[in-house]
Symmetry: D2
Subunit: 492 residues, 4 copies
């Protein structure tokens, strides 16, 4: 809060927790995986790893940092030999146990090496973990992903695929998963399909990735989305699809369209950029605003603002300029420096906004701290009126399906009503898109309560998968019924 | 050329060589200088330095890298004590001699410490340097800036200011200069005022900086531009202005408005953002284009594209998405990887451009390599027609006044006519703004040949200050008349 | 072989594989452990780690490098809070799987955290590991130590101590072990007592360490050796001793006295320095030599050479000078450099040895490469005669009890007889101490075949504990009867 | 003082300030220079540099650290192309201005590149520097060596050699100097020959180095010492000797024999090891001691202790064991740790000294802090009596000729008489060798007052070269007669 930081993503946004990428059957598997992870960097910025298989051994490199910091050494890449590899970007949540939690995880099982990269969050992980430790399993990390490997290790089924299915039957929650053993790359999405997973092809190689932008960077072709509950097994013989799990309602995360995904990705046949523009246009219709300029909050607010401006027929202008050179924590400010309100990331385009009535368009408000600063900056630059329009409904509830959300009492919309938020942010008027408006912009006739087609729990509190651990443990992982033994935090 | 790099600035643009910042009379002088340099990062990305004075000693830190890498250590900043400091960002030209060339330069002269930070380029530096070496002066760097310190050291005048004026009388070329001795901060612009220098104020402290965005980041107030040929001397008594040099025509670099400066800066009373929009609008009038979408080449082309779209009444759309996580050289590609045409920085917004006729708006074409790739990417994404409009006249001549330009035979517009450029780039049509159109967009009635009011030598070849070294040496610094002694390149 | 390296320990010596240190009940537990590990650095130079317990959490830091490189950061030490800690120095054998193998190992078991540091080598580790993987245990390292933790995890016994005893009953081989859970520090030596373990005290704290020199560095008092087969459990209530394992012959490694231990350590009531001098004296009696000077091969040969010189009444002189500034691989030499025979570590004291007849006294010959170079260096410096005396019997057999030995066909004495060795080394005469002479120097009446009292398998091939894995697997860990599945080598 | 450090050289010894090495005419010039500097590491441990010439350019690398840290990267060495190079090891005195002071220094003069490496200290440097700054010379470092380059730059003589002679005529003090220009390597010793410089040969290449051990490491042959006042110029045509400076008394530093030089070096036809043994023997005769054991203070005291033991016919024993793994500052101890008296570098050989009367033999006492600790350690280990014998006369006066000495009031022998020192150190008896005894051990009939043949100013205060700066400035470099301008300390 008090540092002057140049971290490029906004601290006051929800965070996608993971991006995954796997490729089977290409001589440059590790290099292509590194490039794919780079295209997926927005889905996890704190750590990355790649595991490859060279026909005899599994090779791995995992580290804290950005993809281009971790894999910029040709020696590192050269060690990751083989024509198959999986990779993972991680957004480490607080208290994450350092390097041992960086994925892909790996284990030597009785059938050979086995590696997993996971995007999502299991809602019964602690419950399973407790049982496994009780029976003598040793955990090397504190990630929920590791329970999957233990369950596979303990399955008595004959094949790797059957063992994995055994494991998946015990877990609950959100997962788009890559599993990797000696001769096969497996991709699977949970039955609700909370998180994305797409299939691509490059020559004779198959690729699985969180978003289609990871295909574009390497010139690969987008084939189709993996469907909710679908498992694909890629071997030298080709690709086989199956549906080994019980079907469930489709609940793809609607927030991927609003903020998480890259605008140039395609999800379920919909262009993310186009959806954002349509949401912006719907917002303009629902909550018009008599102003001189539409100003996007950079950079995520730009497509919605374009849609808003077009629909409202008001000029779209860059009233906020973003500094491109942002990357890390910079300076520990003294009290007198802090007092100056240093503007590391954004600056007002003073000549433009001075004397004007403006509407700021942004995708969401979490704690409201950044929004408040930006409104203040606009007023200091001479804006006559400052309005704000948000291209999502109010973020009121925590996500348990793979998005890092503050606890609900840190969510501004959980504790404040619209009027109070507007006052806190300091705007002349504030509007969010309605939940029905959001669904309409997505091409539906509003939200259908018993089967909405998307997960919107953060807006509605409608959790599609039961929260087993939430009943048994509190949010800190402490057992609610009996005292959980103290699990040590030893780490490097 | 062949690496996969994530360097955020485009390799195929002209490069501003320096940004400077100085502050006098603030207890956090070094921290504020680091912040100011961060706001000026676009003016030089390869090295930075700060020199402060704590009342007894001059303290310095210089290093290769970005500002937020060099000054992110609180210990480093804490050592730069004192209430006055100057700083410098450098874009190192090829062959630059490493750390010893990083500014601000510093010398212990007979009157005490003396430090200089310089934006610009001296056109008679080699000629002076040769004379100084002959008489026994030892050079520690290969920068032109060091001749200024030697000339000050050799002056017999009584005061530091008079010694500096003695030195300035011997040098030719472009300079916006900060000079710093025990009790004063001096700012001076060359008589033609090629490069910018602005005066700001923060409480009781004065600030000098290349651009006004460096005031905004710390909440300082913009007072006025330093005028061509003006020298200001800031001491505890306040600020004094003088004009010790012979007056000359005003020749401010017009390319600052087109590309170099940040859009949120104000130069000579003109908003850079607004000028870019006006140039884009003029371009639309001069060279209209019947298309479905106006697509900016990110990020520098955005304001001109907005102006173009408004004037032409064609939708403005983000047809190219830029990866925000770019920072360094990444992967040495194999031949098979290179073949894939990896897209590290940009990706086509395929869903948007597919089947559309588009016009790309960019600020300039240097070698044309990036333009060519972008056009190819647009066509691969399904664009039906791809046109290009450039918001500057053709870049035909090298700059000797502080901009890093390739030698003229690497400039595409020097060796190719419009038709040949269009063919090389691969566009359906290509147009540059005319030189008169550019001046008109700037508020003039076209270009006045004998006193244009701006330096536009890169477009017209009209060099306002004579090129002494160019007559005596060739471009590699080898003497043209007699063999120059071999100057050693020893460095760390 | 071909690099010019400055690694301080001789590549041509056998290597002790581990040093261990634990302390219970001192507020500076981690700092004292780091100091103790520093004193034990000679027992393992490639990696170190410390695990502490602060009353709530276990904290760990492990890294590759020397102790003073790993723990020289006050922040690192400060994080290792708590009044109990264990530490480990490791000499990584070839193929070691990087950071994950650095001890102390740690696991979250059902009763809480559990950490182990191990000096020795298990002879049935692969056999056990195979069974554990088969039943679903996941291994995080490739060290034999991890099977102990898994066995503890799987035991159904009620207390940590009983679980550990369950585990120890299944393992075979050499181990001096520290085990560490929430409220206790456990030390145990295998029934043969192959490797050392000593008990010390500092104020009210108990310490367990491989050698007494680790007590001296922190001013602790040496209490007594832990006995073969003894287990001590240290808690807040004090120390309790038991003997839970079946008794066996005492087989302490006799090579600890010859080379591995530090000369200032005390083992089993014998001063290592004094034993080395006595062995040197016995060697002089067995194999006298008519020369002018006794020259030790630095540094390990010095005490034996002193004993030799005194017994032979020949002047002891430093004929070989060792460079103190040695630390790392230095220069990749060109062919012409290699030809020069660069002397990084040793130099002849030419003025001293020129024209003299000398005897070199060293502790052992492994491959003979260093010995050969030193003899050649002595002759080049003008020595008239060069003899060699070795204070151990010929090293003929591999060790499986915790010492890193080359495979037996790399052992010069395995493949060559005395005369052939002398010729290879290039000496005028060569003698080793006899096996009986060695035992006599140790205070016995020669070696007693059926119960020698020490392990001397490397000289005699008499292995006291069966080599289970050796029967089942070959030396590379490949199963001899059926093909072992390929266990992947994924690592960071 | 309060850190627990593992720095391998004793903080309580005088420090040689520099080692130099140059080679002309060998294709591996830089590699051989790095190896030579490694052999000379004991003459300067804080920084190193190499400058080479490849026929067109001078190349340089300088850094803080040990030689094997700075030059262990093959890329670094590969850049230092050419068949001639000079190198320098530096012991940085307090306040040294970082990287800019690391030698060899280099300048581009009117005749081409010129580089200098200097062992010694100029006694009129500040006086000359002040004049040079006054006339406009810019200094890049704060070393005295730079004045030599400036004087060469300003000389109007025709050749580089003549210009260097011009410069040498103005400087006073101690210097063994390597100067290096395009086609020649020049070596020169000051007329008193304070510091050593030896000539070697490797094939057709000539080498100049501070000590002969730098020849041994690369298998080069020692030719002869350069004589006081001699200059040798090495070119492709061979080597030429001259004596361009006024002759003076021979005053080679006698402390080189006592402590600074490596024991395997030869200086002026005398073996350093043999001299140390003879001094030890003379010490035994002058100040015998009725004890059981002679114990050297490792490592520098060993040769004198051997000589002492032989002459006194008392057993020589390693009563103090030195830890080989020492390298850097290690741990910031807490108060309770400090209280333990941590023994990082030395440990008592308790079994040996317990109950014995011992005499410790050391080469010198500076502040006495280490001696005191060692005596205390011996007593704690049970020594019945602890005596000390020092193989140099009392160190009473500061050195101004290239040795780093504390100011005289920190020298224990300056402020305390023999009895007080013995009491402070805590010994039962203490004796230094007499000044005449020292000269006798060196082969003279005692010291001849008006022409002693050696510099012994640190014992006698007899300074052979006037201390010009000492008259004009105080020890902090502040001018004594008029106020010196504040010389800034700007540095990286």
């Amino acid at each position: 809060m008090s540092e002057i930081t140049t971290v490029p993503f906004d601290d006051d946004k929800l965070k996608e927790e993971c991006g995954i990428f796997g490729i089977f059957g290409h001589e440059d598997a590790a290099t292509l995986t590194a490039l794919g992870l780079h295209a997926l960097q927005h889905r996890g910025q704190e750590a990355s790893g790649i595991v490859s298989y060279d026909g005899e051994n599994f090779l791995a490199h995992r580290a804290l940092g950005l993809v281009d910091e971790i894999f910029n050494d040709p020696i590192t890449i050269a060690k990751l030999k083989g024509d198959a590899a999986i990779g993972h970007n991680r957004y480490a949540t607080t208290g994450g146990a350092g390097l041992r939690n960086v994925q892909p995880l790996y284990g030597d099982l009785s059938f050979g090496g086995f590696s997993v990269a996971h995007n999502g969050n299991l809602t019964n992980e602690l419950t399973i973990r407790e049982k496994l430790v009780e029976r003598g399993s040793l955990f090397q990390s504190t990630t929920d992903t590791e329970v999957i490997i233990h369950l596979v290790a303990l399955s008595k089924a004959a094949t790797v695929v059957e063992r994995l299915v055994d494991a998946l039957k015990e877990i609950e929650g959100a997962y788009s998963l890559l599993a990797f053993s000696e001769n096969q790359l497996i991709g699977v999405r949970d039955p609700n399909g909370f998180r994305p997973l797409a299939l691509g092809r490059l020559g004779n190689s198959y690729i699985l990735a969180s978003e289609t932008c990871a295909f574009d960077i390497i010139g690969a072709e987008f084939v189709r989305d993996i469907e909710p509950g679908e498992m694909v097994v890629i071997t030298k013989e080709g690709i086989k699809s199956s549906r080994p799990l019980e079907p469930a309602q489709s609940r793809f995360c609607i927030f991927e369209y609003i903020y998480f995904a890259r605008p140039d990705s395609d999800m379920n046949g919909k262009s993310v950029y186009e959806m954002r523009k349509r949401i912006g246009a719907m917002l303009a219709k629902e909550s018009p605003c008599d102003v001189d300029l539409v100003v996007p909050v950079p950079d995520s607010g730009v497509p919605a603002a374009l849609g808003f401006a077009e629909a409202a027929n008001i000029p779209f202008e860059l009233g906020i300029i973003r500094n491109h050179y942002v990357g890390r924590t910079f300076i520990e400010p003294t009290q007198s420096i802090r007092h100056l309100g240093v503007k590391m990331k954004h600056n007002a385009n003073r000549a433009l906004v001075n004397g004007k009535r403006i509407v700021l368009v942004d995708d969401s408000i979490v704690r409201g701290t950044t929004s408040r600063k930006i409104v203040e900056m606009m007023r200091a630059a001479g804006a006559k009126e400052v309005h704000m329009r948000i291209s999502s409904p109010p973020s009121k509830y925590s996500c348990f399906y793979g998005i890092d959300t503050p606890s609900s009492n840190e969510l501004l919309a959980h504790t404040h009503d619209l009027e109070a938020i507007a006052k806190y942010i300091g705007v002349d008027s504030l509007a969010y898109i309605s939940i029905d408006g959001l669904y309409r912009a997505m091409g539906k006739n509003g939200r259908v309560a018993n089967d909405p087609g998307y997960c919107d729990a953060c807006f509605t509190g409608d959790y599609a998968v039961k929260l087993t651990d939430q009943v048994t443990y509190n949010c800190s992982g402490e057992k609610l019924d009996t005292r959980l033994h103290k699990v040590g935090g030893a780490d490097d």
